[in-house]
Each structure stands twice: as structure tokens, then as C-alpha cells.
Amino acid sequence: MTFRTRLLLVFALTVVTAVVFVGAIVSTTTRRAFERLNAQRVAALAAQFRQEFLRRQREIARQVKDIAEADATRDMVIALSRPDADPSVYVDAAQPLAQAHNLDFLELVSGTGSIVSSAQWPARFLYQEDWVTRRDDWDSQEPFLKREELPADTALALISVHAARVADSKMFVIGGEALDRDFLSSFVLPAGMRALLYRAPQSIIDSSGPVRQTAALTPLLDELRKGRAEVTRTVAWSSDAASAETFHAIPLIGPDNELMGAFLVGSSRAEQVGLERFLRRVEILVAAGGILLALLISFWTTARITRPVEALAAGARAVAGGDWHTQVDVRSGDEIGALAAAFNQMTRELLEQRDRLVQAERVAAWRELARRLAHELKNPLFPLQITVENLQRARASHPEQFDEVFRESTATLLAELGKLRGIVGRFSDFAKMPPPQLETVDLNGLVRDSLKLFEAQMQAAGVALRLDLAPGLRAIQADPGQLSRALQNLALNAIDAMPSGGTLSIHTAAEDSGVRLEVADTGQGLTQEECDRLFTPYYTTKTHGTGLGLAIVQSVVSDHGGKIAVRSAPGKGTTFAIDLS
């Protein structure tokens, strides 16, 4: 994973974590605020309900008492107490009274419990209301809840009973109000809230009429029936969370401790859910924006951070590739800038050191060349000097022998001059190494041809030749002259390395990318230091020689695009391996 990717992930993770964290805090705070506000609103509405309920109780009791104590009612009681009483005269008496006193229900019931007139159900005249005759203390009773049967349905009513008495005669005035749509309409409902009225056993209404879908309220109502205490529950109307409502139910208990109904305060969660959804969308948008911003910042930051690093890496690779002139263009003043400056300083110093080393090596090479030349030239010069001095002495001391000495001396001079010419020629050859003229060459054939020249020399030196040539070795593109010369140099070195005799092994083999030629001797071997300097021009381990043989071999191999390596250890001989393509 790149630094840039890591940085992006860190930024994105940081932003998302921050957003989620803040969002969670905001959502929780919002939810709690809503719940607190909702609880306050529900409590206010519940208090409003209780107050309204109490007010209606008082009002109903007052109205019923007024009717019972009215002169017209007393006249009615008197008329109905007569032996020839005709209650049918009063069959329609209740309705105008109910209207005048704003009562939904009003029944005038004789002392025997027979309905004289009913406002809510006029057709029930002369029917019995036996329950009203079972007690005589109605005047001191508070209004109570009663399930009032009507022609079409059953209503939940807040009822008050008062007895109109004249002497021993009495008539019950039963009046009340329905807990219905109008009752619910009297409440001032804040937005998002609604008031429902549950009327046992099944009916649920709101201010606009019956509520049709009430199945979701069943668990709440069941709990209400069991406990008959106030209950608060959240009801989900559908799979959409916004449809959920929190209901607070206030039970309405009848005189026989029967659950007559309940006042349900519903508070919609739509606003809360809507806000939560809005916050979630904002969170997502902020997170997305944050991620995008993180992307941009990470790109910008990584560009600022990794560009110098990458430049440094590229510079290091260039240096590793040999380009020691590489300089990194980093101008920041931070650690990366310091690192880049140090890198540039390093490459500059490397260049300077290399230049000094090259200079030193060059001086050393010249010194070595001078020493080698001096050494190589000194040997032939000394016989020349001796010979010339012999000639001088012979002329002076032995003129008669001068001719003979002259012949011998000139022969020696010529020989030594020939050696000098040979030395100069080798140096000249090394200096004038031409580029290879490539042609198809059979390496095995070239090996055999080249080594024929050394058979006598090897025989004289007691060196056995062992050829291990791979049959069917493919031909290669090479300069046969230069390659033969390189092989001869290796063979000569090998023979020189085995003054007491040994075995010279030549091995060819096919490789994946070309062919391999190995020349091994069984000489005394080389140290590691000798191996390291073996291909240095003018370096030799022998007492004679120019030190150019292996340098020439390496030059030839290099010019053919090949590689040469040496394996050797003291006492275990030396093997040169040449890989050619």
C-alpha cells in the first residue's frame, strides 16, 4: 500500500469517524430533546384533558341540578304523581331541556325507573332504567362514566344524576355529555399531536370520526385493560419509522372500577424522524464531502511529501545506475528538504571522491606502467649495455677477438632489440585493440584450433590438456581472432601457472542465453585479492609478462557483450568462466 493510499485512508477514516461521532452526538441530543419536548407536550395535553374532564363534570352536575330544581320539572313531578297521570304528555320534554342546557344526554325517569322522556333516544319512553332506582344518594354523587346505548351505537358518556323531589314524589334527571368528537375537538393540539378516545370495547375515535386502522393500538389497550394505569407506548403504524406515534393512554374508569375507555394522546414521531433523516443525510453529505476533501488534501499533502521522497528515490536509483551527477530538486525547508540536501551533498562528494580516485588510479596506473616499462625495458637494456661494453672492451683489449665478439654481440643486440620490439608491440596491441569483427563461429572448433599451437609447449611443461566440449554446441557471433587470442592468453596463463605440470581443462557448455567457456588449471591458485585485481591492466602475478594478458581477455569478452569471472583459491587452481551470447 502506497504512502498516498495510506494517507488517504487515514484522512477519510478520520473525517468519517468525526462525522459519525458528531452525528451520533447530534442525533442523540436531538432525540433526547424531542423526547423531552414530547413528554412535556403530552403532559400538558394530559393535564388539559384532566382539567377539561373535571370542568365538564362540574358543568354537567350543575346543569342536571338546575334541571332537577327547575319549577317546570317540579310541576312535572307533581303531574306525574297524580293518580290519572299521563306521562305521554312529557314524552318530548327531554329534548328541548337537553338543548337548553347543552347536554347530549338527558332522560327524565319516574320514581319507579320508567323513562318519561329521553333526549338521546326518544323511542325508549316507558322503558325501565332500574339502575337509577337502586340508590338514593345521587345528589351527592360526582358525575361518572357510563356506557350509553343509542339507536345506532353505544356512546361513552359523562353522566350526572339528580333527583327532583316534591313531597314524597320524585323524578330522576339523568343528564350528561358524550365523550365524542366534540369533546376531542375542544382540545388545543400542537402540531404533530392528536387526541384519540378509546371507548370500550372496540371503538376508537378522533376529532374527525372513527379511526379505522387501530390494530397497532391493540397491545397498548391490552396493557391498559390489565393495569388500568397510565401507559406510554410507541406504536408503529407501518414499516416507515416516520409513521410511528408515541401514545400516552389515560384510563377512564367507571363507577364499578370497569375500564370504560381511555384518552389517548398521540405524538407523531414524523418530525423527529424527519429531522433525524435530515441529519443523517447531512452526515452522509458531510462525510462524502469530507472524504472528497480528504482525497484532495491527501493528494495535495502526499504530493508535497512524496514528491521529494520520490525524487530522492529516483536520484538514488540514478546514482545506483552510475549517474553520479544526479541532483534532487527539493527546496522545502523541512526534514525532506534536509534529506534532499544531504543526498545532493552525498552525490557531489561521491563525484569528487570518484574523480580523486580516478586521478589516483590514473597516477597509479602510470606508475605501474612506468614500473612495468622500466622493468620490461630494463631486462633487455642490461644485456644491451653489457654487450656494448663487451664490444668496447673487446676492441680495446682484444682486437683480434673483436670480430668474433662483434658477431656474437650484434647477435645478442639484435635479440634483445627484438625483445624490446616485442614488448613495445604488445603495448601497442593493447592500446590499439580493434572492435570485433563478428561472424559465425564454432566455439568448439575455435578451442581445438587455438590449443593446437600450445601442444608442444604443454608437453614441454608437463601439462595435460583435457577438453570437455559440449557436442552440438550452437554457433555464436564473435570475432574468431580476438576470441582465439583471448583463449590463448588464458591458456598461456594456465601453463605459466603450472610450472611443475598439471592439467589444463577446457570446458564448453550451452547456457540459456548463450554458451559458456571455462578454462581451468591445477596450479597453485590465487588469493582473493589477486582475483580482485586480476583484470587490472599491467597487473601480473608472474615475474615476467606485461600484465596485459587478462586485461586483453576482459577487453575482448567485454567487446563481445559477454562476461568473464574467475574462481580460484590458493592450492586449488584457477578457473576462468566466459559467458557469451
Binding site: 333516544w121 323511542a123 316507558l126
Partner: protein, 439 residues
């Protein structure tokens, strides 16, 4: 001395004033309101006798009395009748009523009879005895010779009548009559109380109010049958019909809702007409009704009951019937003017003082099979019993036509409303309007 002179004079003055208050006098327009909304002037409607007359008319006992025929004879076992026309009778267009005109009108109204003119007489013949011909003729008002001429008729809204100056019985006291049609009962009562009308129809529950402040209440005989009728063509279980019939508390309806007007009944014909209506048991039998209803599947115990709001006390009666049915275990839902209802509360009018004809008329109006001719009361009872078998029709009560009359309305001789509810306003005269009310 002075006292002895003035006392007789004062007494004579008082007598003279009282006499002036009760003495009929001519003039004035009678204002009448009715619920009826006839599309055309119907010769069979209660107001028709104002304009149309028949050869004979029935008195309060149902006995035929001379009208356009001053006398009649029959012979040959009632196969030949001769009616002698009242002389000098003029139609409203001024033309004399001739025997030929009568023959022409009767031939259209009484098909199957041979009707001919014989001088100023009309002869009616039949192959068999036509003993009930006088009743037929009494119900066949054909001639526009009545005490009032039809002035204008605006269907459903208004009708006006003007006094027939040439009426053979003498000019009526009233100059004219204005009838407002299609007026709801409650509005009629208010108009009556406010003096905006002289005569208004009254619901039983409003009788006390209608009779206050010197107003009078007139009524016909109990000629309106209020009954529950199961919708024809629907296969209601007989047990359901019987359960509903046995659950009805007619007495409570009659005593309270109808304020004891008319009579509670389980018969089609009223007691005053048939004489045997008491033989139809009208008391509820709740135990049997509950047993019958209990034998029905729950879904079959539900009924819808409808009524016409224009029918007097209809809503109260329907709702009471629903309450009674509820006691029997039936669920009856009441709604006005529901054409799809299972049961409807109807009002059917008795149109004949002849029981057999009245029963036939009721059967026809109720869509029941026409009863066979009944010569005796027992046969008529059997016919009526047969009509009521199966409880397709459940009679509730017979209710009279009820009218409230303003205090300025006076009746000279015969009742202004006949037993069958016809208007006889030629006997009415108008007194002074009470102060503060419109004339």
C-alpha cells in the same frame, strides 16, 4: 227610573254584540296549508269536494244523501237505477248540468254499466244487482259544480279557489281559499301559531300546541293506516316477520307517540269501520318474538327500516319499532328514505266508508292480493285475516287527519272535515282576526 231604562238597553246591546260575534257572515279568504304535493288537481284528493260533486254524497254515518241527484229509485233487484238530477245546476263554466253530460262523465268513470239519459234523469242498468251503486256514485265526483271554482293550480306549491256564486246550495261564506302545498308539518304549526294560516295539518304530538289560544282541532275518522311493510320481492324469513310483528308495542305508540289519537291496531280496517279490528291481537308477545328471532341465524336478524319524513310521527314510530325489535333480539337500523330498506313504514288511506271497498282499496295500495267480495262481516274478517297472514304487512295504528284551525275560523253547520277527511269548507266562515295577527 233611569236605571230601569238603561239596564234593558244595556242587556240588549250585549246580546246584540254576542249575536254579531257568532253570526256567520260572508267574505274573506281562507288560508290553508297542507303537506300534500299533488302534481295535478286530483278529484279523489281531500280538497276535491271543493270543486267536484257527485250524484250522491255520504253523510257522517255513511248514508247516501242527495247531491246532484235529488232523488233516485231502483227496481229489478237493483239492476236498474234512475237518478233525477237537481234542476238549475250550473257547471263552473256557466253551462247547465245536463243528463247527457252526466251520462258522458259516468260512462268513463263506471265502465261496465249501461248508463243512459232519460229526460232530466239518468238511468243506470246492470245485468246483476248493483246494490253498492250509491257508494260507487258517492265516490265518483265528476262534475265541476262544487261551491268553489279552481282559480289556479301551481303543482306542488299553491292552489287557489274562488267562491262559486251560482252554487246550487247557495254561495259559500268564503270569498276564496288559498292552499299552500308541500308545507312541512312543523312549518304549518309555526304558521298556525303566528297566524299566517287559518288551517294547518297537525301532528299528534303537536295537538296541545295546536289547540292553544282559542284554536280548534278538527279531525277525521281514523282513516290513515300506519303499517310496516316488508319490501315486496324479498325472501325474508317468515319467522323474522312474525318476530317483528310480535315485538311491536302498539299501545305505547298509540298512547305516547300518537297522543292517543286514532287507535292502535293489528288490522287493516279500522275498528270504527269494520267492527272487528279488536279481534286481531295487537299486544306484543315478546317471549315468542325472542324465540322466533333466536331461531334465526345472526345475520338474518338484522333489518333496515325506512320511513317517509312527510308521514306524521313516522320517525318516532319507526324508532320505537326498532327499540321493540331490539328487545326481541332483532337489530333494526332506521334511516329515512332508504329505497333499499327491508322494511318501510307506510301510511295508507282508507278511501271508502264501505268496509269491503275500503279493504280492497287498502289491499291494492299495499300490493296485496285483492280480497274476494265479502257479503258479510265474517267473510270480510276472513279476507282481512288472509291478507295479514305471513306478516308481510304489520299494521301499527289508524290515525285520523288532524287539522288545527285558527280562532277566526268558524263552522256554520256540518263539520269542515268529513270522516274520510274530505274538505267541506263551504260551511266555514271567517270571523275577526285576533289582534296582532295577519288576516
Amino acid at each position: 227610573m233611569r236605571l230601569t231604562v238603561w239596564l234593558p238597553l244595556a242587556a240588549l246591546s250585549v246580546i246584540a254584540v254576542c249575536g254579531a260575534a257568532t253570526r256567520p257572515h260572508y267574505g274573506g279568504t281562507l288560508r290553508v296549508e297542507t303537506r300534500a304535493t299533488p302534481a295535478a288537481f286530483d278529484p279523489t284528493a281531500p280538497m276535491a269536494p271543493l270543486v267536484f260533486e257527485a250524484l250522491v254524497r255520504l253523510d257522517e254515518t255513511g248514508a247516501p244523501q242527495p247531491c246532484l241527484a235529488i232523488s233516485w229509485q231502483h227496481e229489478g233487484a237493483s239492476r236498474r237505477w234512475q237518478f233525477n238530477l237537481r234542476p238549475a245546476v250550473k257547471l263552473h263554466d256557466g253551462s247547465p248540468l245536463t243528463a247527457a253530460a252526466v251520462v258522458s262523465a259516468l260512462q268513463a268513470a263506471l265502465p261496465g254499466l249501461a248508463i243512459n239519459a232519460n229526460g232530466d234523469a239518468v238511468v243506470i242498468r246492470a245485468e246483476h244487482g248493483i246494490s253498492a251503486l250509491l257508494l260507487d256514485l258517492a265516490h265518483t265526483a265528476f262534475a265541476g259544480t262544487g261551491p268553489f271554482r279552481l282559480g289556479a293550480f301551481d303543482a306542488g306549491r299553491r292552489a287557489t279557489f274562488a267562491a262559486n256564486e251560482d252554487y246550487w246550495g247557495g254561495r259559500p261564506f268564503l270569498d276564496g281559499i288559498e292552499v299552500q302545498l308541500g308545507r312541512p308539518l312543523r312549518d304549518q304549526l309555526v304558521d298556525l301559531e303566528l297566524g299566517k294560516t287559518d288551517i294547518a295539518e297537525v301532528a299528534p304530538a303537536d295537538l296541545r300546541r295546536a289547540s292553544e289560544h282559542g284554536r280548534a282541532v278538527w279531525s277525521s275518522a281514523a282513516v290513515n293506516l300506519l303499517a310496516l311493510e316488508f319490501a315486496p320481492g324479498r325472501a325474508h324469513d317468515a319467522r323474522l316477520r312474525e318476530a317483528l310483528a310480535l315485538a311491536i308495542d302498539r299501545a305505547a305508540m298509540h298512547n305516547v307517540l300518537l297522543q292517543k289519537q286514532g287507535e292502535a291496531t293489528a288490522a287493516l280496517l279500522p275498528q270504527w269501520l269494520s267492527g272487528y279490528a279488536f279481534a286481531f291481537p295487537a299486544k306484543p308477545d315478546l317471549a315468542r318474538a325472542q324465540s322466533l328471532a333466536g331461531s334465526l341465524p345472526a345475520a338474518a336478524r338484522a333489518l333496515t327500516l325506512t320511513y317517509d319524513p312527510a308521514v306524521r310521527a313516522a320517525r318516532a314510530l319507526a324508532e320505537r319499532a326498532a327499540v321493540n325489535a331490539r328487545d326481541a333480539g332483532l337489530a333494526v337500523q332506521v334511516a329515512p328514505q332508504n329505497a333499499q330498506a327491508d322494511v318501510r313504514l307506510i301510511e295508507v288511506r282508507v278511501r271508502s266508508l264501505d268496509p269491503a271497498r275500503a279493504l280492497a282499496g287498502l289491499a291494492e295500495a299495499l300490493g296485496l292480493e285483492a280480497p274476494p267480495p265479502a257479503a258479510t262481516a265474517a267473510a270480510l274478517y276472513a279476507s282481512e285475516r288472509k291478507l295479514l297472514d305471513g306478516y308481510r304487512v304489520i299494521p301499527l295504528c289508524h290515525l285520523p287527519d288532524l287539522y288545527g284551525a285558527a280562532s277566526r275560523v268558524h263552522i256554520f253547520a256540518a263539520p269542515a272535515i268529513t270522516r274520510l277527511g274530505d274538505w267541506r269548507f263551504d260551511n266555514i266562515w271567517l270571523g275577526a282576526s285576533p289582534s296582532g295577527t295577519a288576516p
